[in-house]
């Protein structure tokens, strides 16, 4: 079983701060991590290879420092890591990103599965995984919360939907996106980390992918970010004070009546 995991390095915070003047993310002083959902994707791939044999190849498109995220994936137990980095990839939207990733997958050659996180913590689009499947012309199953069956012909996935679950079967090769509840990502031990530091992270650029430059980076991106801003909070919450619980409840009822909720 050959499994490719596509990961992204993101700032380690759930509250990404935005520079109000430039509209860009403030990354200074914020450490970078593997996108948490991508850790679930790596864990799923590692578990499947532990059960069925094979190899896990982790790829990431990003600036040179994304190598750190790939080393973390190696420490978790991935067999191979490839950094896909080129100046001409900068400013890519989800279409251009998924195109470049698909070129990398083609270069890797035959594979059985691709795992991605359901979305990135910073961009939150959830489009790169599905886009990658489309570029490759393979089926995709998003929001995987469980792997019900895997043979050398097909995979059956339990999907997490907003109103329940759904079981979907697809032939291999297939792309899966992982939700947080799929598994608990392992924490690599010290020895694995030390080994991963010395391991090779392959570097692929635009040339070696044979990607057409006009489909990469800013040039290949039909969408552009018009404005990024932190929403301002207009209404402050109000604490209801009172000596006893009964008093507080009465105050609450009065307020709800005032607001014509009751």
């Amino acid at each position: 079983m050959k499994i490719i995991v596509s990961i992204k390095q993101v700032p380690d915070t759930t509250e990404v701060k935005i520079n109000p003047e430039t509209g860009t993310l403030i990354r200074d002083g914020v450490p970078s991590i593997i996108n948490p959902f991508d850790e679930n994707a790596i864990e799923a791939a590692l578990q499947l290879v532990e059960q069925h044999g094979g190899e896990v190849i982790v790829i990431s498109m990003g600036p040179p420092q994304a190598e750190q995220a790939l080393r973390e994936a190696l420490a978790m137990g991935a067999d191979r890591a490839i950094l896909i980095s080129d100046r001409c990839f900068a400013g890519a939207d989800t279409l251009a990103t998924s195109y470049v990733l698909s070129q990398a997958v083609r270069r890797i050659g035959d594979f059985d599965l691709i795992f991605c996180g359901k979305q990135a913590f910073d961009g939150d689009t959830g489009q790169v995984g599905p886009g990658l499947a489309e570029h490759l012309g393979i089926p995709q199953i998003t929001y995987a919360i469980g792997i019900e069956e895997l043979t050398d012909k097909h995979i059956q996935i339990k999907r997490l939907l907003s109103d329940g679950f759904e079981s979907v079967r697809a032939p291999l090769p297939c792309l899966i996106t992982a939700v947080k509840q799929l598994n608990e990502p392992r924490m690599p031990g010290l020895k694995a980390r030390m080994k991963a530091k010395k391991s090779e992270v392959e570097a692929w650029n635009c040339d070696c992918l044979g990607a057409s430059q006009d489909r990469c980076g800013l040039d290949g991106s039909p969408t552009s970010v018009w404005k990024v801003f932190s929403p301002t909070r207009h209404v402050e919450g109000e604490m209801i004070e009172g000596e006893t619980t009964a008093q507080k409840i009465n105050t609450l009822i009065d307020k709800l009546r005032e607001a014509k909720v009751l």
């Binding site: 924490m187 031990g189 010290l190 020895k191 694995a192 980390r193 030390m194």
Partner: protein, 384 residues
Amino acid sequence: MQFAFTEEQQELFSYVQEFCDEKLKPFAAETDKAHEYPWDKVKQVAEMDLFGIPVPEEYGGAGLGFLEWAVIGELMSAACTTTGAVYGAHMLAEYPILFFGTHEQKEKYLTRLATGESIGGFGLTEPMAGSDAGSVRTTAIKDGDDYVLNGTKIFITNGGDAEIYVVIANAQPERGMRGITAFILEKGMPGFEFGKNEEKMAYKSLSNRELIFNDCRVPAENVLHKPGRGFQVAMETLRVGRIGMAIGAVGLAQAAFDAAIEYAQVREQFGEKIANFQLIQMHLANMATEIEAGRLLTYRAAWLKDQGLAFEKEAAMAKLKTSEVAAMVTSTAVQVHGGYGYCSEYPVERYMREAKLFEIVEGTSEIQRLVIANQLLKDAPRPQ
């Protein structure tokens, strides 16, 4: 002189911190209340490869130093004092084998300790021999190729749960201290049994059991160092053990301080956060200053050890200072919490009970002062 950690050390500590925050801290209270040895936590520490920090890689360790071991122990103790205590007591078996063991002994026992496959314990204390290590009454009489052990050890941390023990016994009682010999014992050896688990003021889930030797036969190849050199093994082990207790105390004190400064910024009285009151600020300043002093003493003792320099006096100073700091800081943290601090709903109540341990084990504060004074007088210039 420089006080900064290297980039590698910072990286190491940051993911140990992450491990502690995610896997230990949220469960610290229930780990204590369980009254059960924290095997799940111990397994996780082993999976993180943290049980063999100063052990060379060829014996399954990380090949780092005692400073790294100390800082990791501090982080662990701050997150979960029970797990921190297991980590500290484990070293009391690991270190003497690392320091005195033969290659064969290291391959057989040290590797298992360094990988965390087995937990270690150190059997010195007896009903009539605590700090007075020379007076142990457990005997080990040579019989053919074996030694036959008889006697009882008490309060042994990890006792019964650990699989590998370094035990101090007297092989030639007629020679007094010169008969004292160290042995490596394994759980399951015939005649090696465990007695009652002590019910303690704190550390409810940590095992402190009797080790009972009833005609327990130990092969001569399990003698650690040389016959008659057991006192030296015990003293060397206690030196490193004191650094271990010191880091545990620093971690505990830090946890209590963190709880106090958080509470002070949340609790309101007279319409203000109590952190705005100068008397509370004084407490916070005193606590933090004392912790920092104890931490630096401890790191320096560990650093001296890593440099191969004498560290006995410094380790004793660190243990003395940090255990008194932990007692003061945890008590003050309860004070800052007021009535809530006295209730078990808040962790500081437990911290205060746990702190008392540090002033007692591995040599009481009184004994530390004796060790320090002995060293001072030995080093002092003789007046003309």
